[in-house]
């Protein structure tokens, strides 16, 4: 987004630095942009635009196109020829247009679809309601400069530096039913009392969310810490002089000043919940209670399953869901820019 915005600014700059206006309005506009300006302009606008089109628009629109087809990735693709009706052998019903069939199948007979939507929503809610406030709490406590705050800071930040795939592996060891740390501590490694943390579909999502929160809270903490450091000490002093308690100082003075950080954290949270993938993919490829939309897309497209059309339809659903917070954020951002 910043990339897209900056070239026009440099363009304006070029206008300002151009030769002084002497001629009529019309020809002046032609002359101010020297040959060099034009080259710079084309390069600065053109390259990002090209990358944007090649890596975002083309794949996104191709996915939308694929989502109306039935295609296994082999054989030719005729996205505008209708598939023969069902009694035709499946090999003939390939690479052809099926209309909204993929979407219809996803919402009606694909058993993983609705659980995936539900889990994505739960993921988002847990991040907003638990992970973010927890991170904020860590940040506030550490910011008060308690003894050993640097150690706490490092410890809490450590998970953020690990890849989610690695976090999945680490927690899988901890949750292992018969040999894991958690059950060993609880003394429930065998027999009917053993807790099947990752295999029981009623608890595995929550077990995974603990691992995800473990990392997300650290991430949020770092963002808030940076924000808190930027809050002017004089504000707090003024609040203290006015007799505000710590609680009041935070909620009435500091928190409002952190508004830009809050916006960023909200966006990060939404994005992290929608792109949640690595953890569950590592644990069981997103099955049995850990279905997420992103994993379903991958499972259908990558590998031998190769239901390109169906997987693309799921991808489009995820795209549409992602567009809601993205549009909201952009709208807010542009409105603020216009106001300032």
């Amino acid at each position: 987004m910043t990339v897209a915005v900056s070239p026009p600014q440099s363009g304006k700059k070029a206008v300002a630095e151009g030769p002084p206006p002497r001629r009529s309005r019309r020809s002046r506009r032609v002359r101010v942009l020297s040959r060099r300006d034009k080259v710079v302009l084309v390069l600065m606008l053109g390259i990002p635009l090209m990358l944007d089109v090649a890596f975002i628009w083309v794949p996104a629109l191709t996915s939308v196109l694929f989502s109306f087809t039935r295609w296994n990735g082999i054989g030719s693709l005729h996205p505008f020829t209708a598939c023969p009706p069902p009694p035709a052998p499946s090999i003939l019903r390939n690479g052809c247009y099926t209309g909204l069939d993929n979407y219809h199948q996803a919402v009606t007979i694909y058993p993983q679809f609705w659980p995936a939507v539900e889990h994505n929503v739960i993921w988002l809610v847990v991040f907003i309601v638990i992970a973010t406030p927890l991170g904020m709490l860590f940040a506030v406590i550490i910011d008060r400069g308690i003894r050993g705050s640097r150690i706490y800071q490092s410890v809490l930040f450590l998970p953020v530096m690990l890849s989610l795939a690695l976090i999945g592996i680490v927690w899988e060891f901890m949750y292992s039913q018969n040999y894991g740390l958690v059950n060993s501590v609880l003394g429930r490694t065998s027999g009917p009392g053993a807790i099947d943390w990752l295999g029981n579909p009623h608890i595995n999502l929550w077990a995974v969310l603990v691992a995800a929160t473990w990392r997300q809270a650290g991430y949020v903490m770092v963002l808030y810490l940076a924000g808190l450091k930027a809050v002017e000490a004089s504000l707090r002093e003024a609040a203290a002089i006015d007799g505000a308690s710590d609680w009041q100082t935070f909620w009435r003075v500091v928190f409002p000043v952190l508004r830009p950080i809050n916006a960023i954290i909200l966006v990060v949270t939404v994005i992290e919940s929608l792109r949640a993938f690595d953890l569950v993919y590592i644990i069981n490829k997103g099955s049995n209670g850990l279905e997420l939309l992103s994993v379903l897309v991958t499972n259908n497209i990558v590998g031998e399953i190769s239901r390109i059309g169906f997987g693309s339809a799921l991808g489009v659903v995820l795209l549409v869901i992602s567009l809601v917070p993205i549009c909201f954020f952009l709208y807010q951002n542009f409105r603020r820019e216009e106001a300032s």
Binding site: I56, S76, P111, Q177, D196, L198, S322
Partner: protein, 461 residues
Amino acid sequence: MFTVEGPDLGHGASPPSRLESHMAQHFGPLSTVRPGRRTFLKGLAGAAALAVSPELLAACGGGSSSTSGSKGTGSISFGSNYSDASTKAAFAALVKNATADTHVDVSVNTVDHNTFQDNITAYLKGTPDSLCTWFAGYRMQYFAAQGQLAQLDDVWDTIGANFNDATKALSKGLDGHYYFVPIYNYPWVVFYNKSTFNKNGYTEPKTWDDFVALAKKMKGDGLIPIAFADKDLWPGLGTFDILNLRINGYDFHMQLMQGKADYSDPKVTDVFDKWAEILPYCQSGANGRIWQDAAKALETKQAGMMFQGTNQVAANYQPANLPDLDFFVYPEINPTYGQDYMDAPADGFIMPAKGKNGDSAKKVLEYIGTGPAEQAFLKNDKWDVGLATNIDQSNYDAIQKKSAQVIAACKNVAQFGDRDSDPAMAAALEALIQKFIENPSASNIKSIQSSASKQAKSIFG
């Protein structure tokens, strides 16, 4: 190390340690996780990456390839998914002998097992090697039917005498032509420790009733009767396969696998009903356990039995414990079919239609399809058995000797749930089996069958 992922992947290694097993389980899939992790349209990344992949865009233009394969002699490249150290060594020995025999220079191009499988479509359509490793069954026929594999009828004219009819059948495509040359297979059977059976006076059950009675007795003796794990999703298919083969026979099983029979058929209900009968004797919490942990329960004698492939259980045992390991064929349920069938997946080689120097490649395949070639491979592999009828079995250990016997005693062998069926359907069934393990009630069985039936129609229809 990567061989522990799937039923086809297990031809591994000196038994991997637990850590190795875990790592193997994970680092395979990782390679597919990488693209586009940073983009926030994360979910779209898979689709997007595909959309811009040149092979696929090229595919939009259409065009079919010849299935006769390329001509030409000279050196060839061999794509291998035998990425595990010991199978890599076994494969290297095979290739070395092939070069000595045929004077064809072979360069081996080893790719991590899971990556190879995940990329197979793009690989065959792009610039594949002259030969590559693959699996028998529908998984091979699927690509053959779409012109991606070269016909090997002329190779089989030479090597046909070395194999029995069952092996010939599993090497053929749906069109009746040959597309595959096998190297080994292995049986899915019920494992147990001889010491446990001797100590408690158990005997190998021949019928379903004996089997259930034995499981009950083991439970009474404080053992886990049947070690069981299904976190990896595929192991459950093995139990589904064998029950269906025992109850409904080979023909119905294959029809079901290929979308020609209906999952809502009462015959399928019988399969789940029988499974529900033994589920209380299976290790609980199977959906959260990797099969290596189940095998460990058997090895440490906490469990009495375990139904899985030799390629996994025997390969996972510590060498010191191997002499104690024995197995029996899954008991008879329906007298019509007795113990006539089992899953015995075969691994082997295919020749991509787009590979280079096909004449040399065929010479190498003609060598591979012989007893001595299989022996060269099995020198380092003690859990699989060769398929050539003229193989010298003197180097086999007890498990291998018995494996060869029980496979030979079958009237027909299936490949495995995920090799005999469309991959999308296999994945759908795997997910439903986890639901069944979670809740084996009659009403849930009904809804599972109905969902499987609907999904099969959308996948095969």
